[in-house]
């Protein structure tokens, strides 16, 4: 009864606002009062290292928390444009009232650099529900090996903190690769965990110090191959492939779980270079070499027939999602390579490899 009544009130409220989502009204009063959207307010900003910023966020009531290892999509407006990026919360899964993100500012990372420089308490960010398969199994491993590199630390740190918070007592080894000791966020906390708990062992390897240490089999021998061990791995591509190769050689591949750590943007190519690459039409499952013409013309030449109207960039009938790659708007010359963007294919020419939902 109460439920039906609530549903009734809900549909009346929505009908009074039609055709707009109720949130398009509420956000003008206070962006943290939301009807359906999830958002989060920054409550704390810490700059633990020279290249990173740690944000503590207070999400709106729609937030359901995250599983250790999962990621969320965060959006932020920079110079009038909303940018969306994925980040893995670093906090323990038990903490559902707050959300902790540590963002590393990569040299090419537009959003990460913006946050590193401009994040301040009170700022409101867009937030999605957590998702992703990379997480601890419900039946906790007998031995847990967490391997991370650079900003890949956040999902595995979340796993470690979650295990600590639930009083998990079987052995955990945390192996982290960083440029220098100063470049490790949470180093004090990790050292403290290492000292406090006998079953937790933390090891750091530094790749840009005098005795640079990149991944070597010795780092995991006796750990990854121990009985009942499960390895959770997140970091840059080089580390991931080195560890996977090691696991393959030792026949341990089925106990390694990993998540690729993605850099903010795919590279922007120079449009003056000779035309290269392939165009993949994901919905039609067709791939053709890029000949430099607009995506609409090339799709048609490939025998597809995507919807269009004006063919000159004014009607927006031809808008499609570019899942990856870089395109040039032939009207403005602007290059764009943010994945998941809607583009007008009649005035967009691919630069290099492009995947488009056609």
């Amino acid at each position: 009864m109460a439920h039906t009544l609530a549903r009734l009130v809900e549909s009346i409220v929505e009908a009074t606002a039609t055709p707009y989502p109720v949130d398009r009204y509420l956000e003008l009063i206070d962006p943290m009062i939301t009807w359906r959207d999830t958002r989060a307010k920054i409550t704390e900003v810490r700059r633990q290292t020279d290249r990173s910023v740690t944000l503590v966020l207070k999400p709106t009531r729609q937030w359901k928390g995250h599983g250790a290892g999962q990621y969320v999509e965060v959006s932020v407006v920079v110079d009038g444009v909303r940018h969306r990026r994925f980040f893995s919360p670093a906090g323990a899964a038990q903490n559902t009232d707050a959300l902790e993100l540590t963002v590393t500012a990569h040299s090419g990372g537009f959003v990460s650099r913006y946050l590193r420089e401009n994040a301040r308490p009170g700022m409101v960010l867009g937030l999605s529900a957590a998702s992703g398969e990379f997480s601890l199994p419900a039946q906790r491993p007998a031995r847990t090996v967490l391997v991370s590199g650079g900003s890949g630390i956040t999902p595995v740190l979340s796993m470690l903190r979650t295990l600590v918070a639930e009083g998990h007592r079987s052995p955990i080894t945390f192996v982290h690769y960083a440029r220098t000791p100063e470049d490790v966020p949470y180093r004090a906390e990790l050292d403290a965990l290492d000292r406090t708990f006998d079953h937790i062992d933390v090891q750091f390897h530094y790749t840009r110090t005098e005795n640079a240490e990149h991944f070597a089999p010795a780092h995991l021998d006796g750990l990854a191959d121990a009985d009942g061990a499960q390895v959770f791995l997140c970091g840059p591509g080089t580390l991931m492939s080195a560890v996977k190769e090691y696991a393959d050689e030792r026949g341990l591949s089925d106990r390694v779980f990993s998540e690729a750590f993605t850099i903010d943007t795919s590279p922007v190519l120079d449009p003056n270079e000779p035309i290269t690459g392939d165009i993949t039409y994901t919905k039609s499952d067709v791939t053709t070499p890029n000949d430099g013409r607009t995506l609409l013309e090339q799709a048609e030449a490939a025998g597809l027939d995507p919807e269009y109207g004006c063919r000159m960039g004014i009607c927006f009938s031809c808008t499609k999602v570019r899942t990856s790659g870089c395109t040039r708007n032939i009207l403005t010359g602007e290059l764009d390579s943010e994945p998941g963007q809607h583009i007008q294919i009649c005035v967009s020419a691919p630069v290099g490899d492009v995947e488009i939902e056609v």
């Binding site: 009074t16 009038g80 009207l331």
Partner: protein
């Protein structure tokens, strides 16, 4: 044949001034406009976003105030202010927000709702259908007889080249009805009712359209004529009347502004043959000659969704409308450079000449005089190619 100049001469046209544009001039004009566009687009950013959100905030406040004032129908001035406030909110919603957002003018913000894919406005016409009839059909084929269905909306005779028949004696009456019921006219536009009646379009073609209209219109009608009136309890009837009044205010205003965009004297229509294989430059010239501006205050421009800058809008339909005022003098200068007319006038003038045209065109051409006194001849193909 040396130079192929399309002949605009029509039997009834009394011409006093002819303007000739060479192929190269038209292309050069196209480059000038492209350059202007590039400059503005490169500069879009935070302030344009702020502009849109300022208008949205104003719209929401006016809407809220209007709905709230419906609770005091026993103090007539307040109730009337409520009707006016809601009417203005709907005008802002449809013109400066809806029309412009659905043109993709703010797609670069990558914002939810306020983009050309997701936005739908506070009127009975589904945004999805309007984008087809307006963004595609009207903006691509502006003022081409037989292709641009905004010429007369399939009901009116709006150009001398449209064949006259006795039905058009009612031109003024149809125009008045269209003005009062404008939102419904806009909704039905995509059905091409006249083609259905004449059997040029099959009823089965429109099934999807009708479904979309039903879905959208029923929600709109429920909101203004059932839910909000019911929420004012004992004042159900007065609120219903007030909401209808607000919709009417919006209809009359939007109709008036929109009809001033392409129909005042001096605007030209084109034939499909003329426009075949048009270059971008030729497309620009057609947009300029087919559109007309209205001058007025900043507030007036906002209330008209900047469609008072119809010429700029037709040249650059996806550039944020708040940029049209700064582009207008440059466009006018470009017109001057090529000796082209830049059609602008006060609301009174443009509205007056539009209604005069509606009245005149209810009669067959031999009974009235064409007062379009400027004829522009556009060289459609490069001279060299033809000379060879």
């Amino acid at each position: 044949m040396a130079i192929n100049i399309t002949d605009y001469f029509r039997p009834e046209t009394a011409t006093t001034k002819e303007i000739n544009l060479s192929y190269e001039q038209v292309e050069q004009l196209g480059n000038d406009l492209d350059e202007l566009r590039a400059r503005i687009v490169a500069d879009l950013g935070e302030s344009d976003r702020e502009y849109l959100y300022t208008i949205i905030r104003a719209q929401r406040k006016l809407e809220f105030a209007g709905r709230a004032m419906m609770y005091v129908p026993f103090i007539p001035p307040i109730w009337l202010a409520g009707v006016a406030s809601l009417g203005v909110a709907k005008i802002l919603d449809n013109m400066e927000i809806g029309h412009n957002v659905m043109h993709g003018q703010f797609d670069w913000m990558r914002e939810d709702t306020y983009n050309s894919r997701e936005f739908d406005w506070d009127t009975v016409c589904p945004g999805e259908q309007w984008k087809h009839s307006h963004n595609y059909m009207h903006h691509t084929y502006t003022n081409i007889l037989g292709e641009d269905r905004d010429i007369g909306y399939g009901i009116l005779r709006m150009a001398r080249d449209q064949k006259w028949n006795p039905y058009f004696l009612g031109n003024l009456g149809y125009a008045t009805a269209l003005m009062l019921l404008f939102e419904w006219g806009v909704m039905l536009h995509d059905l091409e009712a006249e083609n259905l009646i004449q059997g040029k379009r099959k009823w089965s073609d429109i099934k999807g359209l009708v479904k979309g209209m039903w879905r959208k219109a029923s929600k709109q009608v429920a909101k203004d004529y059932i839910i909000w009136p019911a929420l004012t309890g004992p004042f159900f009837v007065t609120t219903l009347i007030g909401n209808a009044g607000a919709n009417l205010i919006r209809n009359v205003w939007t109709y008036s502004i929109i009809f001033c965009g392409h129909f005042p004297s001096g605007t030209q229509t084109f034939t499909a043959e003329e426009c075949q294989d048009e270059t971008k430059g030729q497309w620009y010239v057609r947009q300029m000659l087919g559109s007309a501006n209205i001058y007025g205050s900043d507030l007036f421009h906002i209330m008209s969704g900047n469609l008072s800058h119809q010429i700029e809008h037709h040249l650059f339909p996806d550039v944020p409308a708040n940029r049209y005022p700064e582009m207008a003098p440059e466009v006018e200068a470009i017109c001057e450079k090529y000796g082209l007319p830049y059609n602008t006038g006060s609301l009174r003038q443009q509205l007056g000449s539009t209604w005069k045209k509606i009245a005149k065109l209810s009669l067959p051409n031999w009974m009235t005089r064409d007062d379009n006194d400027i004829v522009v001849n556009i060289e459609r193909t490069p001279a060299v190619e033809n000379a060879a």
